[in-house]
């Protein structure tokens, strides 16, 4: 089976470590995504997997075979992989049908079989009426589907996608997101999906690798990564998180703005700088002086801003040391700026981060 494994994969350009000691295993038939901001090394990783570039260190295995290692790179055309490029890379001098058929022609399939497969995939991707058009005559969404059809028709073992939805408008993006997952489930190849959009990664993947500066910061299923970010970077990148900085009191407690807060996660070292992350909607607001609750951290604060957004209210609250945090509350909780409040931070939601 074509399990894909990256082992200590590294690519340097001069002093720049574009991909830095990345290890990752994707079991056959799973969809893994590489998630991270622009410039973090996602495309480079994907191009290493495809065999377009040679690693500076580390290995790539497919099943039992090493396909890439420094000085030894199996040519891309011999990897039985497919790729959807960020630019789509449709050949402008070939029609939609010719683009899709090209991979099959190279596999020396008979004319009849080729025609049948092309017709089938064009039907699946709703492109049949456009078969004789040139790429320049298609809309962005249509081009994206041609790229998808061209990649799928060769029945690859491994499918690589480089931000395939980033050129589409918001509606189409949402629709195609589910299309990618549906096709993956239908054909069951191993998929590596590159994106900078966390909701895209969350909704499509079995496995998420959050990348930063060429390294994998966290690897896990979407739920784990979302619920238990291991670093400030991951917490921030997955969005909606407040980061409260302080000093570790012991393995599970952090002193923040004069209050000791209990949290959950990997044990801290006493006396070191630490932080907790908590999402905006996990914090509750009560008027100042309300009774403390068990299992919940209670922090004093003052309302700075209160914006009504329809289904919710968006608060900015200042702690005594002037740290600001954002809280999403129900629309009927209406507290004026300057109002003193008690912030309720459930202990289980306070993720401990060492800094």
């Amino acid at each position: 089976m074509a399990d894909l494994a990256l082992e200590g994969l590294t690519k340097t350009y001069g002093a720049n470590r574009a991909v830095d000691d990345v290890s990752l295993r994707v079991d056959h038939g799973l969809l893994a995504s590489l998630l991270g901001p622009s410039g973090c090394g996602k495309t480079t990783t994907l191009r290493l997997i495809a065999g377009f570039i040679e690693p500076s260190a580390g290995k790539i295995r497919v099943g039992d075979n090493v396909v890439s290692a420094p000085g030894r790179v199996l040519a891309p055309e011999r990897r039985n992989m497919s790729m959807i490029f960020q630019s789509y890379a449709l050949w402008p001098h070939m029609t939609v049908a010719e683009n899709v058929a090209y991979g099959l022609t190279l596999r020396k399939l008979g004319r009849v079989e080729t025609a049948k497969k092309v017709a089938d995939i064009l039907t699946t991707t709703r492109l049949s009426p456009l078969a004789d058009r040139y790429p320049a005559e298609l809309s962005g969404g249509q081009q994206q589907r041609v790229a998808l059809a061209r990649a799928l028709v060769v029945e690859p073992e491994t499918l690589l996608l480089d931000e395939p939805l980033s050129n589409l408008d918001a509606n189409l993006r949402e629709e195609m997101r589910f299309e990618v997952r549906r096709l993956h489930d239908a054909y069951r190849y191993t998929t590596v999906y590159v994106t900078h959009d966390q909701s895209e990664a969350m909704t499509t993947s079995d496995l998420v690798a959050v990348m930063n500066g060429g390294r994998v910061e966290q690897l896990g299923n979407p739920r784990e990564v979302y619920d238990r970010p291991v670093s400030e970077f991951v917490a921030r990148f997955l969005g909606g998180s407040n980061i409260l900085k302080g000093t570790a009191r012991d393995a599970a407690h952090v002193e923040i703005a004069g209050t000791v807060v209990k949290g959950d996660g990997a044990p801290l070292t006493t006396g070191t700088p630490a932080a907790i992350s908590i999402r905006q909607h996990e914090i509750a607001l009560d008027p100042a002086g309300a009774a403390p609750k068990a299992g919940v951290n209670n922090l004093p604060g003052k309302v700075v801003r209160n914006v009504f957004l329809g289904p919710q209210r968006d608060y900015v609250i200042a702690l005594p040391d002037a740290t600001q945090l954002r809280v999403t509350a129900a629309p009927d909780i209406d507290l004026a700026p300057g109002f003193d409040v008690t912030l309720r931070l459930p202990e289980a939601r306070c993720r401990l981060l060492s800094r």
């Binding site: 090493v66 050949w91 001098h93 090209y102 060769v154």
Partner: protein, 579 residues
Amino acid sequence: MATLDSTQALAGATVPTARTRLDLSTPVMVLFTAALCVLIVLPLGWLLVFAFRDQAGRATLANFQRLLTDPTFVEPLLTTFTIAGSVSLACGAIAAPMAWLVARSDMPARNAVRIIVTASFVTPPFLGAIAWELLAAPNSGLLNQAWRAVTGAPSEEALFDIYTLTGLIFVVCCYTFPYVFVLVANALERVPGDLEDAAAMLGSSRWRTARRITIPLALPALLAGLLVAFLQAMTLFGSPAILALPAGFHTITTKIWSLFQYPPKPELAAAASLPLLVLTVVLLRAQSAILGRRSFAVVGGKGAAPRLVGLGALRWPALALCLALLCLPVFLPYGALVNAAFSKVPSQLLTLDRFTLRNFVFVFSEVSATKLAMKNTFLLGAMAATAGALMALVIAYLTSRAAGRGHRVLGFLAMAPIAVPGIVLGVGLFLAYTRPPFVLYGTLWILLLAYITIELPAAYQQMQSAFHSVHHELEEAGRIFGATRLRVLKDVTGPLLRSSLVATWCFVFVAVVRELSAAVILFTSQTKVLSVLIFDLKESGDLAAIAVLGLSMLVLTALVIVAANSLLGGGSAARLRNN
């Protein structure tokens, strides 16, 4: 990148059909680097050697001493600088406003003006100079005759005398200003409209915007254009050879040429070539320094379309001015050539009873060298264009795709001949290939080498920008779907580059047909080409034959270009453009 397809060497590898396939890019790179070294280093090396030795072969500095003290060398040098400086300034003064009118104003027929200017590039400078002899020679010149007819001036008096320094400067200007025009017009077109809109919104008036935003942004292009004009004028051979020699003075290029007349003095010619070479290198460095800085940030930007400035009532006068100016390099000279070609007396205006085809009959059946020169020229043109375009293709592929060690060296070598003026290369090739191991002098091969070397930089630049316009992911897509490197070249890169390749081929072909300065050093009676034949006929004073040959040469060139485009150009070009 070392692509080793055999994975059996890899730990635990059990890949089916593992065959070792050789990656050809490294050997090809080495081969081309070596070939370019020979092509460039050999002639320039001999040039250096000869410059520092005397006729007996002993090392000496006497050649340079003579160059700097003997007035017959110092004067041509000074004359050359006078010409180059004046031409550069005059070209700037004419081309910059015209470029602005074409690029940024609402002048009528802007595109037509632009096309005519670009087309005037095609005129070989020596042919232009001969046409201006027909127009403004003191006695027989058509313009002078017309002036005498109108004013009744006596026959010894002339309004214009083309056989003067001023006359030469004027003619060189006519065929140099398109360089400045094209550079400035392109730059002006790329000044994004939104920058100017921003200035306008801040309350800046239209002229102020032009002065503060547009002109500073186009200034680097203008400066670069002035340098190119200087360079062109400095290294030009054709026009000075036609006009300066009868006027009794030399430029440095005609001086170098005269050193090859009997008895040849190659040592002095080599020494006289070196300052030209050094200056060219310096000017090119200056130019790339100017263009390399801030200008490119804007030039690369994708802004709003440029805003056109309304000229109001001045629209038509502006066009009239442009057309009047275009009379000088285009309408008048070609009129004079057509007149001479079909007239019994080339120096008289064509009328019905003076009309004759006799000149054509004479040139094509009686001038013995015509057929040979035609054959040589078109054979060499086709061979140089094919070899040059293919070399440029491979080198551009290596430097832009197989980015490995050494590709910088290769790119540098391919661009290096741009710093070698044609006449200097001619001298170098003469010195290099009149002796073992390569005795090529007297064959067409030496001319072929010269043409390929001279045109390689332009061809390489064109192919390189063509490669840049083909996104590398298009090729990678071919690889990942199962095509080998070669197969991708055939199925994807090739078709996408075809129109650029044809354009490059045509470019080299045109350039070869009009080349004179290297050919005039390297030709022998059996390897005469058209440009040299015209130059020879000039010495015998047969202007009608020259007009016939010059016009035929242009017409035949145009036919070859049309044929090349319709055979190879492929209709795909139009389709690709709107992608």
